[in-house]
């Protein structure tokens, strides 16, 4: 039988837990710093404004194109390539005194002066108010998702594990946002969708490990929590590698072949899958141990007699 990861010898994963946790902490702090200093490069969906996508009949020189957009109506236009050298994306800010149609017309006129065969492929206008609401809703969605997960995992497992998983998920979201901030990648609605998918995906990994931890606490009566976590991670490692691998393959296919409109989505997932996989091992499980998880916490409630450290069991 073909095997990627042998389950025979337990690997001491947690030996590296401290340095890796410190590194994660540094990453989180760095992300916060970057988010504070340069912020996020919000896309049209959130800032409002106008975007025009055009296809030229031949490759165009961006500087020459920029030089044509000198009229007042086209002021503030940001010109960039989008996919190929023939595809151009122009972003226009919201202007109080100017209608979006007028701005678009000015940009098209400028583009036609360079290439009469230019095709307008896509025009999007979003009012600033809509964008603001969207950003609020998006942030709220992530928080609500985390709270729902906290409740579900507490209910199905135990609060220490729930705290560990939510900390790991928050870590994934923050670090992914941090990378978007550091590289100043555009953050649009599809990226938000990607981020929430990362939350779901990364939780998958965590749950699989937790399930094993719960099982092993009941099976391996004499083992220490650290040993049990190590065994559980080792036992699920093959599955983690394979599932992460197949998911990565499909996400890479999306990234390379899916076209420019879902590039942001694929980027967020690509980053999130990396971060999410190691965080489910080193952040989620390690934090649960640090919070003092032990065998009693894992016993089915009915058998629990003493309940000294379980205030909820007190009359």
């Amino acid at each position: 039988m073909l095997q990627i990861f042998s389950v025979k010898n337990t690997v001491d994963f947690l030996r590296h837990a401290l340095p890796i946790s410190v590194m994660s902490l540094i990453l989180v702090i760095a992300s916060f710093v970057s988010l504070g200093v340069q912020g996020i490069n919000w896309g049209l969906d959130f800032t409002g404004g106008t975007v025009v996508e055009m296809e030229f009949s031949a490759p165009v020189d961006l500087n020459a194109l920029r030089a044509t957009m000198t009229t007042d109506e086209a002021e503030g236009a940001v010109v960039q390539n989008f996919g190929s050298s023939r595809d151009i994306l122009v972003r226009l800010p919201v202007r109080n005194e100017l209608k979006s149609d007028v701005q678009v017309a000015a940009v098209l006129t400028a583009a036609q002066s360079i290439d009469s065969g230019v095709i307008q492929k896509r025009v999007e206008f979003v009012g600033p108010q809509v964008g603001k609401e969207l950003a609020e809703q998006g942030g709220l969605a992530v928080i609500v998702a985390l709270i729902c997960i906290l409740i579900y995992v507490s209910f199905r497992f135990e609060w220490r594990l729930a705290a560990g998983s939510v900390a790991a998920l928050a870590h994934d979201v923050i670090v992914t946002l941090g990378v978007f901030s550091v590289l100043q990648l555009e953050f649009d609605l599809t990226v938000l969708a990607g981020l929430l998918t990362v939350v779901g995906y990364s939780l998958n990994d965590t749950i699989v490990v937790y399930d094993r931890i719960r099982e092993n606490f009941l099976k391996m009566r004499k083992a220490t929590p650290v040993e049990i976590v190590n065994t559980s991670i080792t036992q699920t490692m093959s599955r983690t590698v394979i599932t992460t691998g197949t998911t990565l393959i499909t996400v890479i296919a999306l990234f390379l072949k899916g076209g420019t409109m879902i590039h942001g989505f694929a980027t967020a997932l690509l980053l999130g899958i990396f971060v999410g996989t190691y965080s489910s091992i080193y952040v989620a499980s390690y934090l649960a141990i640090k919070l003092g998880i032990n065998r009693e916490h894992m016993l089915p409630v009915e058998i629990e007699k003493e309940g000294a450290d379980q205030p909820s069991m007190m009359p």
């Binding site: 039988m1 073909l2 389950v7 025979k8 409002g48 296809e55 919201v94 005194e97 100017l98 095709i119 896509r122 025009v123 999007e124 206008f125 979003v126 009012g127 108010q129 809509v130 603001k132 809703q137 998006g138 969605a141 998702a145 729902c148 997960i149 579900y152 609605l189 599809t190 938000l192 969708a193 929430l196 998918t197 939350v199 779901g200 939780l203 998958n204 749950i207 699989v208 399930d211 094993r212 099982e215 599955r239 394979i242 599932t243 197949t246 998911t247 990565l248 393959i249 499909t250 996400v251 890479i252 296919a253 390379l256 072949k257 899916g258 076209g259 409109m261 879902i262 989505f265 997932l269």
Partner: protein, 616 residues
């Protein structure tokens, strides 16, 4: 016996997969070129329309694939795009102005499939091209209009009851009604409470000023806003129909926004003009006793208002509105005997009786037609919404010659104005102005490109995953691959079955992602089986334990992912919602195929037999 499914379970698995696949079939047939015929007001598409259209096309030598009459619209399918164009022109000429004839692409699902509810997935705008608008209803204006109507109500109600009031006006706190003494305030309050109980009344008298303050209750305000939104949706839907767009979407979003999607439309300027225009008319009596020059200098008689006249000068009109545009059922642009443009109006029966009473009582007196329009001023408010300007003009003043009924004409317009006023009146007036807060136009070539990209990504991801699973898990990998393909077909099937589900570009991404993540269930199970085998269990026991132990893990993992998808669905709009839908369907179907589906095959092949080793 270990690892044997009862027959009913196997049949259920086969049935579920068969149904899923069956409803996925319509997606294989592509689309027919078609012509869509919708009746506008006053006309109807009937079986005889269908016969005459089909006969006409036969005479022209155009083969009709199928002609269907459904929901008051006729869809005629032809062979190719050239015939489609010819057919459209011929039909438009035959039927005339009372019908809208538009080009359409209709799913080429065979009739027998359609009969059992089979239809292909609906494609989102990002995949087929078109324009998307998000419109916001100006609720402040809706409330203001309602307050005006209330003021008019109060006037006539108090007058009817012979309660003398000194004046009624709108204040920032509500509607203030002044009286001469405290007694009348009480009298009015008791009376008005029985007549309009959607308002709350407070005695706001102070010193020697006797005043009753009427404010709208929260429930009433909410109702006004709800009605304004609903009415605007209806009106916009009518206008979209007038535009002759195939398969448009008009939908509410939240408390004050409306989504409009027009597939295939590229001329956004025209679409915007018609959708957003808020023109209406009011008929009011001219106060012929008023001194026009005094009114021009600001001394307006009480109960009157001054308006600009289109041809210059002013007109002094009574505040009371005799008839609003709400009662108009039909409007056609025509010409009078001097070739001057005019609009012929038809009223509904209620409007007709009001109008006939009013004109009977006022023969010989002048009546004005007031044209009201909201226009985008080109500037924005600080909060980013577009500032609207209200334009009111008297377009005609005519002396009532005789009692008028339900049909009459309005003059005093220019040719293009007559046409667009007729269109707007026909489609109903917007109760409150709308502004476009979001607009997305996707070219048709980009839509096709997006589909191609998505499908390519899916094929690449799928092929690599299938090959890997086959090599790594051998026979079990093959079974997992069968489940994966069944899963994909079922996602398509379920997407096609759900009427509201729309496939978008992120939706395709969700399907691609499902391919990657759906193997997780099988990987968990297979790894468990391997572990059990390594631990020295028998083959039958290993399979049993493997499936059993992995189940709770798979359930927990999928439920949490499903929760995030649900949240995404709740907060997301448009394309993101599409992604959430495919993700949720994918999770449900992949759990079924990965756990129950593969188990059924595994049991059939290995279950209950003496097996020495497994190909896993």
């Amino acid at each position: 016996m270990l690892n044997k499914y009862p027959m009913w379970k196997n049949i259920m698995v086969m049935l579920v997969i068969a149904i899923g696949s069956f409803y996925a079939i319509p997606n294989l047939f592509g689309e027919d070129h078609a012509v869509q015929i919708v009746a506008t007001r006053g006309a109807e598409v009937t079986a005889s329309t269908q016969t005459s259209v089909v006969d006409l096309l036969k005479a022209q030598g155009i083969a009709v694939k199928r002609a269907e009459l459904e929901n008051g619209q006729l869809l005629v399918r032809v062979q190719n795009p050239e015939q489609q164009l010819v057919a459209k022109e011929a039909i438009a000429e035959l039927l005339g102005q009372k019908y809208t004839v538009a080009l359409n692409l209709a799913p080429a699902t065979p009739e027998w499939l359609e009969a059992v509810g089979g239809s292909p997935m609906k494609l989102g705008l990002d995949l087929r091209g078109g324009v998307h608008f998000l419109m916001e209803v100006d609720m402040g204006e809706a409330v203001r209009k309602m307050e005006e109507a209330k003021i008019a109500d109060f006037r006539s109600q108090l007058r009817e009851e012979k309660i003398r009031y000194a004046g009624i006006r709108k204040t920032p706190n509500g509607i203030a009604i002044k009286f001469r003494d405290a007694e009348t305030v009480d009298q009015a309050e008791t009376y008005l409470k029985t007549r309009s109980n959607d308002m709350t009344y407070t005695d706001a008298s102070s010193g020697d000023e006797f005043m009753l303050l009427a404010t709208m209750s929260d429930a009433y305000l909410k109702q006004i806003k709800e009605e304004a939104l609903q009415q605007n949706i209806t009106t916009i839907r009518n206008r979209v129909n007038e535009l002759g767009v195939a398969e448009p979407v008009v939908q509410r979003q939240g408390a004050e926004r409306i989504i409009v999607e027009l597939p295939g439309v590229q001329d956004t300027a025209r679409a915007k003009e018609i959708l957003g225009a808020t023109a209406s008319i009011e008929f009011r009596m001219v106060d012929d006793k008023a001194d026009v020059s005094a009114a021009a200098s600001g001394r307006v008689p009480p109960g009157d208002e001054v308006y600009q006249r289109r041809e210059g000068g002013i007109a002094v009109l009574k505040k009371e509105v005799m008839l609003t545009g709400d009662h108009i059922t039909g409007a056609q642009p025509t010409f009078d005997q001097y070739s001057r443009p005019q609009v012929a109006i038809n009223l509904d029966s209620k409007g007709g009786s009001i109008f006939s009473n009013v004109t009977k009582d006022n023969i010989g007196k002048p009546m004005a037609t007031l044209f009201i329009e909201y226009k985008d001023s080109g500037t924005r408010n600080p909060d980013g919404t577009v500032k609207m300007t209200r334009i009111e003009e008297v377009i005609s003043v005519a002396t009532i010659q005789a009692r008028l009924g339900r049909n009459f004409v309005i003059t005093g317009l220019e040719h293009t104005e007559a046409q667009s006023l007729a269109l707007l009146l026909r489609a109903g007036a917007l109760i409150a102005p709308v502004t476009i807060v979001e607009e997305r136009t996707i070219g048709p070539s980009l839509g096709a490109e997006n589909i191609q990209n998505g499908v390519q990504a899916m094929v690449w991801g799928m092929v690599v995953v299938l090959i890997f699973m086959m090599i790594y898990y051998r026979a079990f990998g093959f079974i997992a691959n069968l489940a994966l393909m069944a899963n994909l077909i079922m996602v398509v099937g379920v997407m096609s079955m759900i009427p509201g589900a729309v496939l978008t570009l992120p939706g395709i991404a969700g399907m691609v992602l499902t391919v990657g993540m759906a193997v997780d269930g099988n990987v968990l199970i297979f790894e468990r089986i391997r572990e059990e085998l390594l631990a020295g269990r028998s083959v039958q026991q290993a399979i049993h334990e493997g499936y059993g132990n992995a189940f709770s893990t798979i359930a927990d993992a999928n439920i949490t992912t499903f929760m995030t998808a649900l949240i995404l669905f709740a907060v997301g709009t448009g394309a993101v919602k599409g992604f959430a839908v495919t993700l949720m369907i994918g999770i449900a179907t992949s759990m079924f195929t990965a756990i129950v589906g593969t188990r059924s095959i595994v049991n059939a092949v290995w279950g209950g037999k003496r097996v020495k080793s497994l190909s896993i």
